[in-house]
Amino acid sequence: MKKTFAAASIATALLCTSLNSQAAWQDTLSEASGQTVYFNAWGGSDNINNYIMWAADRIKAEYNVTLKHVKLTDTADAVNRVLAEKAANKNDNGSVDLIWINGENFRSMKNNQLLHGPFSQGLPNFSQYVDENARQSLSQDFGTPVEGMESPWGMAQVVFMHDTETLESPPKSIANLLTYAKANPGRITYPEPPQFLGSTFLKQALYELTNNKEALSQPVDTVDFNKVTAPLWGYLDDLHSVAWRNGQRFPSGSEEMIRLLDDQEIDIAFSFDVSSATVQINEGNLPESVRTYVFDGGTIGNTHFLAIPYNSGVKAGAEVVANFFLSPEAQVEKQKPAVWGDLSVLSYDKLTAKDKAKFEALPKGIATLSIEELGKSLPEPHSSWVDALEKEWRSRYAK
């Protein structure tokens, strides 16, 4: 009896809050109608650009919000713009309304009070479909607490690509990677830190090599950095001597690695985008014999987000857009291999049977791993590690 009563009162409370929030959301929707949202997002990939165009049409039709894609070469450009606006005291009607962001850029904007929020928990699709505890990266963006200051958009995990014609059974751990590089000089490399994939490689290697894994979850200044990271630098010294271009030059990122893999200069390329091999095969940038794999011990995963700068003049419109991107419709479309292949951030259990069926029905790309094959994703070290690793890397290898 007591139990039922408690349940009933909780249900009523939930109903009330949800009614409240529904009313609030209605206000947001009517405020957003007619607004123009400038969405600042990396513009280097045609299929992503096209997906954003598709979303813009849908959002216009459904909510009368105009979405304009400002194509960036680097998310830092938009961060710089918001910073310049703050410097000039332009505290409303800023030029950036919504920004595709994660990791270091998020940490920097959050710590310098350049973001609007918290807002993500207030989005109807967030409360309905997202389970923040499903993955650590949903609440901890590269170790920085999200706290509702950005709304999840997609999932990523480090994957490796190899051409089965030249390399049949690829090395599946950091240690084996070195063994392979020694046997095949000049065919292994990794992106140049501080490019985020390069930094992620450092974290992955550190995680597998260090004998003090617990230290990684502590702030870096509370542990003996030199002692914890010594195996990493020893490993890299060995790797560089047999790496591509003798470790004197490193690729700028995943795109360059994929190009080098296609040119057969290197044997293994990395990506954070689990479907990139399939997409690149379709575009003629990789041979059809390329396949994706992950390390046996798991790889580092992360989530990418949408955030709203503190000085946007159309926050309601931006929230509507962020909410639309969290809808099952938008997430299914995004996960189609021919569209983008980016993993959904929605919790499968929370979906309706109809939406579940839609996700099930998605075709799988020829070189894309399933969720099961991707396996477990490794936890990120504490956010203070990234900066320390990058600085140390540059002082050792970029002088």
Partner: protein, 577 residues
Amino acid sequence: MPLTHTRWITAVLASLMIFPIFIGLIGTLLPAFQFLPPIGEYQFSLTPWVNLFSNQEFYSSLKLTLVTGIVAPLISLWFALSLVVWGHDKRFFRTIESLLSPILAVPHAAIAIGLLFLLSPSGWLVRLFSPWLTGFERPPNWITVQDPYGLSLVFALAIKEMPYLLFVILAALKGLKVKESLQVGQSLGYGRFTLWRKVLIPQIYPLIRLPIFIVVAFSLTVVDLALVIGPNTPSTLAVTLYRWFNNPDLSLRLMASAGAIFLMLVIALVLVGWETIHRVFSRITRAERGNGKRRGLTDGLLHLGAYLSIVTLASAFVALLVLPIWALAKRWRFPDALPSKWTWDNIERAKPLLFELTSNTLSIALLSTIIACAVSLVMLETKRISYQKSPSTSNNHVFDWLIYIPILLPQIGFLFGLHVLLIYLDLNGNFYTIVALHIMYVLPYVYLTLKGPYLAYNEDYLLEANRLKYHPWRHYLVVKLAMLRPALLTAFAMGFSVSVAQYLPTLIAGEGRYSTLTTEAVARAASGDRKQVGSMALLQALFPVLVFWLAQYIPSRWTKWRLTLICFFSKDKQCSE
């Protein structure tokens, strides 16, 4: 120009130009001393400098910058002079001249990407000879491009700078009595190469001093080219600063600003050093030049330079040729010499945005170049009048130096400060602001291209016309400007291509809300996808190449067309004869 008060107009124009630069500089200077309110820094201190000078990467980047930034202009100048000396009277030289425009018109990044593909171990050169000759089934692990010494960066810089220097040398030659000097000298028994060195090059140098300075400053500050083809462990100082400025850790900006100020000092020092060495050198060699010897050691050097410059030009062309091939490629894998699958898709994809991009690009470029031409004419008129009044004080006007400041400064440092100013004035994200910022970069090139011919113009034609009938404005247009048409059109083409290629200024003034062919091309190049870069670079280069071609094609035919038109409309008997 029958304009009164040209001096005042020029002064107003110049201060209009200087103001934003000044503010931009302050915007960089303050953070360099730890003052940056948006990230909570209100205390002046020297910490950014201490950090900068204790950073290992700073020193190695600086060393690399100094080497590449000084060697590249030296080589470019050597090549350009050699080519002119060797070939200026040969018939095919005209062809080379007309081939310069595509290289001048194509954006740096595109040439660098083409060159990277040409020379890398998996590039076109190796592909052409593999596997039948080299035996390579896979690309070798060589270090060719992106070498740690920056040699490939120097080569890429030379490819881009040599044509520009060649272009200004040829323009400068028009004001000198080349043929006569050579005839006189040769009749005295001097070798042709020696004559050039002893007589003509010393006359050319003062005329092209500024372009050389621009080239030096460019080599020291270039970002896009160095990002693609330069080394990255470490990179050049400009690239390192660029990375610091864009680092998510906003406090790095303070050190980056200090670095930007330092880079400006480096530019100033290098230029002063360059000029000093030139003066000392020409004083030392004065005796040698007058010693009456008919041949000299440098003849061989000029010969060698000429051959090397042909190689350089040829590789530039091959690098450009690669781009259209990539634009049409679907699959092109090592060691295929040509794509194995072709497609129109890459170009199709650019289609939906094409109209907007093209109209933005053209309206910005046309407007800013026309204004820059008009401003240059006013400033040159001031200069001409001051010449006329006191020919002895023929030194450069202050404005002559001021307008070059934007292109002598590293863009990344001073544009942030400028952006803050624009937001203060609420001028950001505005079409006219983009045009204004473009003018800042276009004006120096237009002015420089126009200066020689304009000041060399024989004013007597205009005086005579006005004596016959006093129509000062009309005659200024139909006599003086009409006679200067080739120079005007070339200056226009130069300015136009500079405007089309602007990336950072367009982005900062337009806040990303006005896309041009260049902003789109650079955004897409972010992926490094050669097919996309190829197709976008083609589109981007199309208009500048067209305008350059028109600038060469129109002047020689203008009068004929005009007369044909006149005859067509009037029934004058004379026409039929």
